[in-house]
């Protein structure tokens, strides 16, 4: 009798329990969808700003530049060069001539120069992609009403020119070449520091260290370092690489006197700082890869008389290499996206010349994005969006190569 009541109670409650289960199921699913929506919103927001209508006014009216009724865009190269010579100061002209002789420049290049240096278009208003697509007529009406002299163009802020042009203060002609080269230089030194030491440490911990308090301390320390905020590494880099090792990071001890090297705030300092930052990540990933190499491989090697290092070098490392490289690529993509430590180390705010040595001043892609984002004008936000797309494409291709590497070379035992 009692037993039946329990079964009854159990069954009575069943509908309620199932309903509760269904509600929570929907909740769990909704949370997942919220996460996906966040990602879509983020990407949409970036793309929305990277394209769209731009209204700009010329600081010098191109009509005043026409010769004998020929508008400036139809003039021959000789006419354009003459125009440059007559308009710019002789100092500015000679500087351009020194950079690249006018005889060697194509007509297109000279025309581009005239647009940049003489006509100098100025952005008056920027529209995002979505309104540009849906309200094109209203935008045209606004422009003819508010800015009668302005020209309206649909602009893709992300172009091949954007990637290859140096940074300038003019939004329409600014590019990220300086920043990309800065990122690459920085990453070079990050790899040079972090890869050998990281893999070495992983080999030591996995193959050589015995299980004692000392190796446990090193291991715990590495795990803790991986959780230290990146800005703390920036402060450490400021104290050690920029200040204490200034003679080294500014190139003084190599006898290099570089007027552009800003007291140790150089590519080298930045790269080494990021090297310290990614070192724990590389060690942890490399350890995992080495641990996945089966014991039997090592024993077989010892069995034919190989020494410890011969075993590690000829058997363990080649087998673990795809895993180690995958982990390293992931660590590098983390380093490429880092901003905060580099600001503390002293990234330069506005440099338009490419870094040429380890002792150059630097700016990197994320720093460039940060600077453009912090400016209130919409046109700089659009530049920031375009550089974000460049950065994301760079990171995506790095990650894709890591995945390919893992799938192509990984062996299962």
């Amino acid at each position: 009798m009692k037993e039946k009541a329990i079964v009854q109670g159990f069954a009575n409650n069943l509908d309620g329990r199932n309903r509760k289960g269904a509600v929570w199921h929907v909740l769990f699913q909704a949370s997942t969808i919220v996460g996906i929506i966040a990602l879509i919103a983020l990407l949409f927001n970036v793309i929305d700003s990277a394209f769209g209508y731009v209204a700009y006014e010329a600081r010098v009216d191109p009509d005043t530049l026409s010769v004998d009724g020929t508008p400036v865009e139809d003039q021959s190269k000789e006419q354009l060069v003459a125009l440059v010579q007559s308009t710019l100061s002789s100092g500015a002209y000679n500087k351009l001539e020194n950079e690249k002789s006018f005889a060697l420049r194509s007509r297109e290049e000279v025309y581009q120069l005239i647009v940049e240096r003489i006509i100098r278009p100025k952005v008056v208003q920027v529209w995002k992609l979505w309104p540009s697509l849906t309200q094109a007529d209203e935008i045209r009406a606004t422009v003819t009403q508010d800015y009668p002299g302005a020209e309206l163009d649909f602009v893709s802020w992300l172009t091949t020119d954007f990637v290859t042009r140096p940074q300038t203060s003019e939004p329409l002609t600014a590019g990220v070449r300086t920043a990309i080269l800065g990122s690459l230089w920085t990453i070079l030194f990050t790899i040079l520091l972090a890869f050998p030491i990281g893999v070495g440490a992983a080999i030591y911990l996995e193959e050589y260290a015995s299980e004692n308090w000392f190796s446990r301390i090193i291991q715990t320390n590495i795990n803790n370092l991986a959780g230290v905020p990146s800005i703390v590494y920036g402060i450490l880099g400021l104290a050690i690489f920029v200040r204490a090792l200034e003679a080294f990071t500014s190139g003084k001890i190599f006898g290099i006197v570089n007027l552009t090297s800003a007291n140790g705030r150089t590519v080298l300092s930045a790269g080494l700082t990021l090297g310290l930052l990614v070192l724990p990540i590389i060690i942890i990933n490399a350890q995992e890869a080495i641990r996945a190499v089966p014991r039997s491989l090592r024993n077989a090697s010892y069995g034919v008389g190989a020494t410890k290092w011969q075993t590690v070098w000829s058997h363990v490392l080649p087998t673990a290499l795809p895993g180690i490289l995958t982990g390293t690529i992931l660590a590098i993509s983390r380093a490429i996206g880092e901003t905060a430590p580099l600001i503390v180390v002293g990234a330069s705010t506005a440099i338009s010349f490419d870094p040429s040595s380890p002792f150059s001043k630097f700016t990197t892609l994320p720093i460039q994005i940060y600077q453009w984002t912090s400016r209130p004008q919409d046109e700089f936000r659009s530049l920031a969006a375009a550089s974000i797309l460049v950065l994301l494409v760079l990171l995506l291709s790095l990650n894709a190569s890591a995945v390919l590497l893992r799938n192509r070379f990984s062996r299962r035992f």
């Binding site: 919220v34 996460g35 996206g337 950065l391």
Partner: protein
Amino acid sequence: MAELTLKKNTEKKASTISLHRKPRWGETIIQGLLFFSGFFSIFITLGIVYELGKEAFLFFQMPGVDLLATITTTEWKPHVNKFGIWPLLTSTMMTTLIAMAIAIPLGMSVAIYLSEYASPRVRNTLKPILEVLAGIPTIVYGYFALTFMTPLLREIFGRDVVQIYNTGSAGLVMGILILPLITSMTEDSLSAVPRSLREAAYGVGGTKLEVALQIVVPAALSGIAAAIIVGISRAIGETMIVAVAAGAGPNFTFSPFVGAETITGHIVRISGGDLSYDSIDYNSIFALGLFLFLITLTLNIISQAIVRRFREVYE
């Protein structure tokens, strides 16, 4: 004759074989280098503690700076020598709190969905998406906070209520940033719970939800707690989102709609220009950095201790 020579030779050889280990200098050098690499990480920690400690000590030696005033007063104004840490601390706590209010429920729900509900096909599509979210640089999230979340908040709550820079939008976006971290750590510990436990629970008539929440989640609790603590530590140290979106200028406030600078945001703004050595600003960022380092280190150690101490081990 030949046999004899052979015998002689072997005898001779046997007598010279030494049972001592042959010294291999190359191996020893390599081992030394590897040991140095392993030890290098200790140098980093020592470097952090020494450099930050030294400059922080100098900071508190400066005229007008006093440790007691720093931890009790509520004004951080370096130009008039007022260094009360509370305005920086409250805004750090605000952004962290908002971020965790988003990331903990969402992150755990997503983790439970992925590990208990989703079919393998759905899981295999969703996990890469989460990895993409986790791989996006934080400056991009900062841009997102300033150009999307802030206008959205101003649209919802009114332009005169929500300032252009505010801790609310920074906190919300930080929640999205930390979501994949909490999800993947929680999911790992949920999937480590053995199948047999779930099957036993189904066997006595549990529904899917009851099995998930009353059996699997409690069994994975140590991992989930560790995930939450690591998330908090990440939120406290997060820099670029707050530097871009939370405002420039310390502000002692508990409103999520006004600008207030966090510890990390302050360090970034102060060091943005050319900072001159041994100035009070220079030393103050080391003191703040040391504070950040100690907080996050403590949180990380706690999370590791929880995993070690409370892990339920099943064979």
